[in-house]
Structure formats: structure tokens, C-alpha cells
Symmetry: D2
Subunit: 366 residues, 4 copies
């Protein structure tokens, strides 16, 4: 496959370029009978929309979603759900300059190498706008999960070296600051940090965390389709993500077995764990505690400062990238990472429907 299809059961097929007519996604495999409206999707898309703060690109896009198929009388029919967002703010500018060279940290060079040429307008398919399809589909997945009591919550836990204080964690705070940080004080410090980056014509990165509660035990397949493997692949597929952790992640590498093992405990007949270093996954299968995934996001490669690079003729040149760019991608990556986690869990959940004869008897037994 050519890379724009995700999932084995809950399959999404995304399409669209930054400066094309539209961007969208087809969801094949959504179960029938789920109440779904454009409002459900729009609520997610609004979280990734540009132009919402000083710290995101000033490109103004309504990013209004249209559902073209798969819904009847307010419910999913089990057939493909096609969703599209029409591009409205493509600047008709001159792209001949950007077409002629390779921006450092971008996919210009690699697309040219792979395909022989590229749609250079606004990054084409490698633009951040590609994530619109992921988020729209993720909203559908999240709605399925919610019906089952599974909820996702993603937020920024670091901007550059400004980290949240876990003691001051507040879910309510997440939506109240432009960085989607669950710690008001950290968000204030992050604002100053990003402001300084912008003044230096530079950019910065950060870390996004997603926690998933209500996941039943038993999701994920042994071996290659472990829940953590699926999450890692899904989250690393988001542009700019350079690292993924489950539970304690790299900190586990310096821990001891005696402290890293989560002790099982039984309380009133219910089995749980005293700690959650494992991030809710043992042997690749969910253990019913909170699933925790974390992603390292690199600094925005488009910076205003002068940079050296190479043009298509193989000449060493200097460039200045103009235009609308986020000084930090992290806040807009939050909902994208949540969407990828939702898509993964929904897909793994459907994948696990036939794990035991007892399940099959429940659905198809006489």
C-alpha cells in the first residue's frame, strides 16, 4: 500500500494536499448504529484549527467538515463514511522559489527522490493539513470508544524544556491555555519561552501525552500487533514526532525490576495494580489500567532565520523561509495524537472481537 490507509478493521483512507481543492478521509469499517453528526466531527477539527492563538500560523481556515456518505437518519449505516473539508485559504502566491530548493527539516528532498517531482505548494501532501483526515476519522473512533466507556485525553506535557508539574495537573486547565497544558503555571512559562523563540526567529518542540481510561483488559494481539506496537506506529506516523514512549518509557531503561514491576493487588475481588509503570499494557495486551503514550515533537522546521541549503541544481545556497508558520507545532499536534490513539484503540478493539470461541458464540451462536 502507498501509506494513506490506516487500520485493519476500522480502516481510514486519507487524501488531500495543502493547496488542493479539498482534504478528506473515507472511513470503512465503522459499525452501524452509532449516532453521528457533522458537529461530532467539527468539535475535533476545531481543536486543530490554525489561527487560534499568537502561537499558531495566522492562516485562517474555517475547516468546515461535510459528511458525504454513510449516515442515515442520524446514525452510521455500516457503509463508508466520506468526509471532506474544502480548502479556502490557499494563497495564490508565487511558489517558484520554494519549488527550486530543499527546505532543511522538510520532506521536499525526499519527495523529489521518491516520486521524481513534488506538489510544492504549501508542502503538498506532507503539509500539516494532511492531519485533517486523521482528526475527522479520529472523532468517529472516539465516539465509538465513548459508547464503551473508553475516554481519551491528550495534552502538552512539555514545550521545549518547560515541563508541567505533575503535582499541579488539572484536566480543566487543558482547554484554557494556547498550549493545551494541564498546568496553568507551566503554560505561562511556555508562553514566555515560545515568545523568545519567535523573537529569535527560531522555533521549538515539546512533548505530548495521551491517557486512555476505561480500556478493558484483553486488547492487543501478541507478537507484532501488540497494543503498544500499534500505538507506537500510529503516533510516530504523525509528522514531526521523533520518539514514542509507553508508560515509563525510557525511564524504565534505568529502573530496576523490583521497582519497575507493577504489583498486582486484589481489592474486593477486583484485580488491579498498585502502580502503572507499564502504562496499562503487559505483553502487548491492555491490563485495564490507564494506557499512557507519550510523543516527542521536534521543533518546527520552517524558521524565519536565514538557513543554508541546496537547490535542485545541486548548488549550495542560503534561504529565508517566509510565510505563515507555527513557532511550535506541539499544541496543534495534541488533538492529532489523540486522534491516532483513538483510531488505534478502536481498530485493536475490533481486531480482538474474535479472540475466543465464547465471543463468537455470543455473536453468531445458535
Amino acid at each position: 500500500m502507498a501509506g494513506s490507509i490506516f487500520g485493519k478493521h476500522f480502516c481510514i483512507s486519507t487524501w488531500g494536499e495543502s493547496h488542493g481543492k479539498a482534504i478528506g478521509v473515507v472511513v470503512d469499517g465503522c459499525p452501524a448504529g452509532l449516532p453521528l453528526s457533522e458537529e461530532d466531527i467539527q468539535a475535533y477539527l476545531n481543536r486543530r484549527r490554525p489561527g487560534q492563538s499568537l502561537y499558531t500560523t495566522s492562516r485562517q481556515e474555517a475547516d468546515q467538515v461535510e459528511i458525504l456518505s454513510g449516515i442515515f437518519e442520524g446514525k452510521t449505516t455500516g457503509t463508508p463514511i466520506s468526509m471532506a473539508v474544502y480548502n479556502t485559504s490557499q494563497r495564490s502566491g508565487d511558489y517558484s522559489e520554494i519549488a527550486s530548493y530543499y527546505r532543511p527539516g522538510h520532506a521536499d528532498y525526499t519527495f523529489d527522490q521518491k516520486y521524481g517531482f513534488r506538489d510544492y505548494r504549501g508542502g503538498g501532501r506532507s503539509s500539516g493539513r494532511e492531519t485533517i483526515g486523521r482528526v475527522a476519522a479520529g472523532a468517529v473512533a472516539a465516539k465509538i470508544l465513548k459508547e464503551l466507556g473508553i475516554e481519551l485525553c491528550a495534552y502538552t506535557c512539555a514545550v521545549g524544556d518547560i515541563e508541567i508539574d505533575r503535582e499541579h495537573f488539572s484536566r480543566e486547565e487543558i482547554g484554557k491555555n494556547p498550549f493545551f497544558m494541564p498546568d496553568r503555571e507551566a503554560a505561562k512559562r511556555a508562553a514566555r519561552y515560545v515568545q523568545a523563540c519567535m523573537e529569535a526567529r527560531d522555533s521549538c518542540g515539546g512533548v505530548v501525552e495521551c491517557v486512555i481510561t476505561g480500556v478493558p483488559a484483553g486488547l492487543g494481539e501478541p507478537c507484532f500487533d501488540k497494543l503498544d506496537a500499534r500505538l507506537a506506529g500510529a503516533v510516530m506516523s504523525v509528522g514531526a514526532v521523533k520518539g514514542v514512549e509507553i508508560g515509563d518509557g525510557f525511564a524504565a531503561a534505568v529502573a530496576k525490576g523490583s521497582t519497575n514491576n507493577d504489583v498486582f493487588v486484589s481489592r474486593d475481588g477486583v484485580i488491579g495494580k498498585e502502580t502503572n509503570h507499564a502504562g496499562g499494557i503487559l505483553g502487548g495486551i491492555s491490563d485495564s489500567s490507564t494506557v499512557i503514550v507519550r510523543a516527542a515533537v521536534k521543533p518546527t522546521p520552517s524558521i524565519a532565520a536565514r538557513q543554508r541549503t541546496v537547490n535542485k541544481d545541486g548548488e549550495n545556497i542560503e534561504i529565508c523561509i517566509h510565510g505563515r508558520h507555527d513557532p511550535v507545532i506541539v499544541p496543534r499536534a495534541v488533538v492529532v495524537i489523540e486522534a491516532m490513539a483513538a483510531l488505534t484503540v478502536a481498530d485493536v478493539l475490533l481486531d480482538g472481537m474474535g479472540a475466543k470461541m465464547e465471543h463468537i458464540q455470543k455473536i453468531w451462536g445458535v
Copy 2:
């Protein structure tokens, strides 16, 4: 799928439990005409074999591979290659105790939850012996890559908090110490560190790195099947891995755009990069510089110290895990991670065969 199949073109199907008759793999999609012998496979399997040092389980297994199909007159035929390793050292011991409770940090509880019961002998399918199939198939993938000038090299870069000194990096050293570290001094310190863990009836983790050289530009698909996404999923699927990084990984999250961007430079008409923070991948597609992937490995969950846990009746109990266990899994994970990287790159490379009409004309044109 149920998780034991990996790859889209170079597809492997692994099978086998720790205490079953045999463990193996079927490779479907290996191109015809590759010289291949059991020696090629055995060389890889020997690198993961137990009982080779003080720091690995004393379970003695020859792990002798047998090729059952797909080879004719010394070459692959293009049809499935079936490989098996017969188990010879299963202890016929009493497993009734281990069957009755859930070991912390293991998949006992989650397998029971998923399937209703489990093969508890030696961990069953969740045993480290499952990786034999991965390594055997990885040896085939690595041989294909080698014919194309692509070479993989994996090693341990940290054991607990003992890290290698990049200044003293030596490939020759890797095979000379029990930890597969490319730094002799670090390996000595690691030995003392692990020894101390063993004496404390405890275990430790570490970090494995794999570098891949000779990768042509253009491998990887945009969006979901990015080369880094595929590598992350593949490496995270190895038991005990809790984090994956590409290039600078989490360090990129605290860098600035101006320093994290790799400058393109042209030398004698050849385009390259001055640095490689990106780890050889831009926009999910290889850029022809070295691909770098890193994995955090958790401490062995089986420790000799007394631990609290829960039994199948939901009672809180205390246990002591007896038997043969590696105090640190890291050294044995090295070849497994290399194998997964080889499988991924081979698969992505085959996936990219039809990326442009020019390729297709080369193969099928009149």
C-alpha cells in the same frame, strides 16, 4: 489478524511456544534468486542464543534451524521459506504453581483476560523464545538488503545508567563483550552493574541502538507508512521495549529549529546533510543518510526477590520466581531489534518498488 504476521510484501508468520515442540516462521514474499543457506540463518540465531555468558539464562539450547521449503539448488525460489527450530531443553518441571498466579510485569494476567486461559509453561507464546522466528526471518531480510548495499548494525548503548561513550565507539568491540556494547570500558562497568543487580536478586534494563547504512533515498510512504512509523511499530513489538526514538528522538523535543534542522550540502554534485539529527528520515522517507533507531528495554520482570501479587482466586499472595532468567534482557534484544529493523526496511523497500511510472516501465515496460 491475530498479530503473528508482519509485513505487507515480505510477510512473515511466526509461531511457537516456549515449551511446545518447535518454534518457527514462514517467510512469504522473499524474492527469487537470493543465495540462502541454513548457515546464513544460524549465524543470526547464534547471536540470540541463551547460555552464552554469566548474564544470560543458563537454559542451554542449540537452537539449530532447519529450512523446510522455498530453497532450490541453494537459492530462494520466490515461494514460502519455512524454518523451524525444535525445542530441546524444556524442563519437564511442575508448573502448577506458576499456573496459579500472575507474575508482575509479565503477560500472565492479560493472556488470561484475553483468551480465558493460557499456556503457562515457560511463558508460552509470550516467552522470549518467540523471537526465534523474528530473528530467522530477519536473517533472510538482512541478506536481501546486503545484496543492495544496505547494512544493519545493532548494539547496546546503555545498561541501566551505564552509557557508552560515543567518543570511544568501536564496531569491532561489539562482538567481544557479553553486552554487545561498542565501548570496552562501558562494557566493563556494565558487567559490575549487572553483577550487583544479580546479587541484589534484582534486574535491570537498558537501551539498544540500530544504525542502518546504505539506505537509498526514497524509502517509506507518506502518511501512515512512514519509514519511522514502520520502524517504531516493529521495534515496539519486541517484548520489554517501552520506548522508541528516531535520530535525536526525545532530545529533539528540547532543541530549537535552528539547531535541529540538518543543513543540506552539495559536494561534487552529491547532495547530503551536514548533520543527522533526523536519523536519516524526513517526512517519513529515507534521505540516504544513516537511519538511526533506538529502543528502551525494561528490566527483566522475573526477579529472584520476593514479590507481592495476586493469584487466580483473587487472593493477595507473595511469590518467589525460581528458574533460569536473564538479569538483563538487553544483550539478547540486540539481534532481535536488528532483525525487526531488517524486516521493516526490506518490506518498505519492496513496498516502494512501484512508486513511480519510471520504476514500473523498468520492470514491465515493453
Copy 3:
């Protein structure tokens, strides 16, 4: 997967209902560098458009295709091609009657059983309009194949019991009669036959054949992904198709080995076959002679005559189906079957790119 995705490399994801806003398809895996325009697609869609003769439904639809992504400066970019056709002629009529019962020969009952309810307007997803996505994507596949010298030609070889005379076969004739028959006299007889059916408020079926020339030897995989198996699955997936044959098909079952075997002959060093009972495929792999596939199409289930059936309350009732229906689906199935064959061959061709090391060296070798 939920069934609306086809192909392993040249992957298409179709969507849309008869009375929804639009119908379309996303093609993921089209190689970069193929010249492609809306005219290329429209030419195919026009062949399946209703309202073109006395013998097709009078529903008038322009079925104008719009390409929304994946093309830049007149060429495919290698990224997903999204295509949509907006529905314009949905009658706003009252569907409450049709919603209440199960039409014989239709999918009403089975959709209700599978999903719990259905979009009953015009057949919803099970409408013949679903094939718009197939045909649009098939046009892209056919264009790739044409660049490689592979051409497809489908036509009607029987309407009811009116068969073409192979002696009078004429490709030029195909486009000149409403049945797409390659035999003018047979077409005239078919017209009379269908006219009689219409007068009897009845419908009829027929047989469609597709021949594919220029197929290089070596396409198709052994075992499950044989070229004939892939074609059979693809063609049988077209609504109303009840049988598929390759080459002599069922006639081979009554032949002898001595006559059914195609003798290999060498002429001027070129190996060919004297006959083609096999329909261009041996052991599931193309042998470079013409590939021949044939499909049996059932009579249109919507007939004007009174029929007995059951309603949703489980009562036995009598119904009369009103509205616009083709008395024979066969002519409109012709381009759909050609499209499915094109999609299959393109996919199998891409699947076979890495069959031998020599191929891989040609693309990725140093």
C-alpha cells in the same frame, strides 16, 4: 475490513449511496508521473451512465467527475487521488413503502439482518450507483496499463439466450449498439428479446466477456493470489454477477486433457501457444497470451410485474415495484467488469514488482 477497499498496492476505497450527496473513490497507490485528467475518467464514466438507450433506466445523471487531490501539473503525484461525482437526480419521493418490505432478489433483507437497519432510498449502498467509484478508479488503472501496452476490451456476449456469433466478432461494433455486443446481428436480436421482456413486465440477464491483451508473462502469485483467483473475486464482487469463467471455463470440465492442453510452440525464438483454452493463465500466472474472463449476470431483480414477498412485520404481501429500472443490467455491467479487470491486473502487476532479486536490483541496486 468492511468491504469497500480493494487492492493490495493499487488500493481503492469507494464510498457513497444512491441518494446521498455524492459517490466517489480514493485511489491510494497510483504511481507518480502518470498523465491524468478528468477527461480520462469521464470517458469511462460515460460508458456506464444511465439514460443512454431504451434499455436502461431513464434516470438522467450527468455523472460528472471531479478530481479533488493527487494530481499536480497534469500528472499523478504518487499520493491519493480522490474523485467524486455529485448526485443530482435523486427523486425526493416517498420511500416509506419500499422501506417497509423486502424486495425479492435485492439486498434489502440481508442489509437489515447485517446492520439492523438500512438506507432504503434507491438501494442505498447496494445500488448500482456504487459502481461509479469502481469505474472511476478503473479508468486510472487502465491508463497505467495502457502505458505498458496492456489493453482491455469488454463486451456483451449474450443477452438472455441470444449469443454472439464468434465468426462475426467485430470490435468496432461494440460501441455502436446499446448492448455493447461485438456482433451487429446478435444485437438486433437482443433488442427484440429485451423488448419482449419489457412488454411482459419482466427482465433478463446475460454474459459479459473481457479480454486483456499485452499482459506480460509472469503476473499473478502462486497459491491464493493467482491471477485467475484475483480476477474471479473482483468480477464476482460486481452486483448481479453469479458466475465467472477463465478461458474455456465450465467447458473445460467436459473436455479431455489432450484437447484442453494448449500446445507450446516456438516461432522465431518466441514461445507462444497454439490455442488458448487456458485463457492466458497457467498455474495462476499469466503466460503472455490473451487473458479471458467471462461473467454471468442475473436478470434485473426489479421487475414491474406483481410479486409476492414479506414485509418487516413478517407478513406475506404482494408488491409492485415502480420507478426507473433497467430491463437488463448487462450493458451497463460491461464497463464495470472491464474496470474490475483493470484494477486487478494493475494491482497484481504492482504486487509482482519484487518477484525476483533481478527486479529489485534494477530499482534499488547500487
Copy 4:
């Protein structure tokens, strides 16, 4: 993929050549908790074993299956089931002659074209022995289905032009004659017919039918993964099959809508159909009546009579094929076609587990 993997959920990966060490299959995706033993598998394999009558090859093979993984205490564990049959009767003869030319009707030429060379010993991977893996896996699938009340029954309905008389259909008779025909008189005539073929150093074909009862309504996906499309692809993938029909098949092409439509009737609140021209499938989805699939099998291409062909040097030659060959493949194809139908239905059934929210709530709801 390279063609030896079948299924999306119940995935089988077959391997092995006629004259290799062994032949086998790995089943990934069998639900946990199914009682399964080697006897279950052997019963199926015995039905395809050679040397059982005058009309099958005299090659004597015990074809004893060994289960190597995936079973614990008599039940499937949900992890891969690996099964192998060791080859014991490979003649060590001289294959240099057969290696030098292309047998008409065989895959010799196409394998050479595809892969550059071939394992010519006994047909290599294109040998009928390849079906051992299919049958072993099919036995597992059939056992799952049986637990759900779904039963398969395949038989020969024609040998050459000797057809069974549907009036004399008897299931009991099937196992009592060497052709697996459900009509004793037809079997006698078939014996004489095949005898005459053998005397003429010729071979013949026939038709196999498989009926599946107890299939619940709702199996199969709309569009490309229709139940009939999946069955057609699966059955056509069996070597020597040249045509596939569902229900009335090609006879439907000459029927009228008024007679081909199956009338729905309600009896005591249960909805059924008066007839079953559709073969149990409407719109690609099972309707709870008997599923009927039929396959045309070509005459054995290996005949004793002298034949013209071409050798590898491109010279026109004459050959005589010696050795052990079935004069008619049909009887041995019966269990293979049944196995493919079982694999398909099991896979489609697992595919449909998540068709509606109600199903998902049943498995994962809180």
C-alpha cells in the same frame, strides 16, 4: 504479498513443495478455546490422500499431520497453530528431462518467466501437494463452524459429461464411491468414463459442488468483500479450477427476473425463501438459506499420450509424460474446495463480528 497467505482474520500461511522436506501451514487467528486434535486434521487430510483408488495417483503417502504449536491441554490457545506433513515418498528419480521443457497445461513456463527458474521436482510449489496446507487449515475452520451449527458438504456433481441426477441425490453415497458423487449410478458411469480415458492415455475434468448449511443471515461485506466474491476468489485459487458459480450461476444469465427472483415467505414468523436460485447470498450477504458454490475442474494436464511442446532452448519437441498422475483430479479436489469454502466462511464470519454497535457492546460493553 506473495500469494501464500489467505484470510484477513483467520489467516493461513501455507508452505512447501512436492519434493521438499515437508509441507504445512500456520493458522493465525483461530479463536481460543476450540477443542482440537491431530485426529480432527487427519480426518480431512485422509480425504485428499493419494493412492486410494484406481483413479488416483499411486503415489503412497501417509500424509500424517503433526501439530507443532497453538494447542494446550487439548484446546486452541488463540496463538498460531503450526501444522506440518513430512514428505516421505519423493522419488529420487532423474528430473533433468522434465527440467528441460515446458509441460502443456502446467505452470512450468510461467514459473520460469516469473522467477527466472523453478523447482521442477514434481511440480515444486505448483504441485497438487500444495493443497495439504489448505486442507489442514480448512479442517480447523470447519471445526469452528461446526460449533456454530454451520456444516459444509462437498461432492462431485459431474465427471466429464457424466452428471449426477439430482433426483437420486444421497449424502450417504458420497463417501462410498471413488468419485465422491452423491449418486451411485452416476458414479458407476463415471468409472467407465474415466477407465476409457485412461485407456486412451487421456484425462478428464468435472464439476465439484459445495453446499453450506446453517449459515446465519448477515455474513459478507458489501462491495468488494461480498461472500460470493470471497468464495469465488478462494475456490478459483485451487489449481485446475477454471470456473465458479454461486447458486444458479450461468443458468441465471438465461433466466427471467420473474423466475430467478426467490420469493420471500413468512412461516410462523420466520422469514425464508421459497426457492434458492441465489445460492443463499443476496447483495453479497448471506440470507440464511443454503449457500451453494460450484467449480469447474479442468482435465489433468499430465497425460500419457505424446504431446508437442517447447524446451528451454526454444526448440519445438515432442514429449511423453511418465510417472504417477490422476486421470481425473476432480475427486481429490472435493475436499480442497470444501476446505477453501470453510476457510472463507470462517474468515468472513470473523470479519463481520463488528458490523454493528450492538455486537460491540455485547463483547466489550461495560
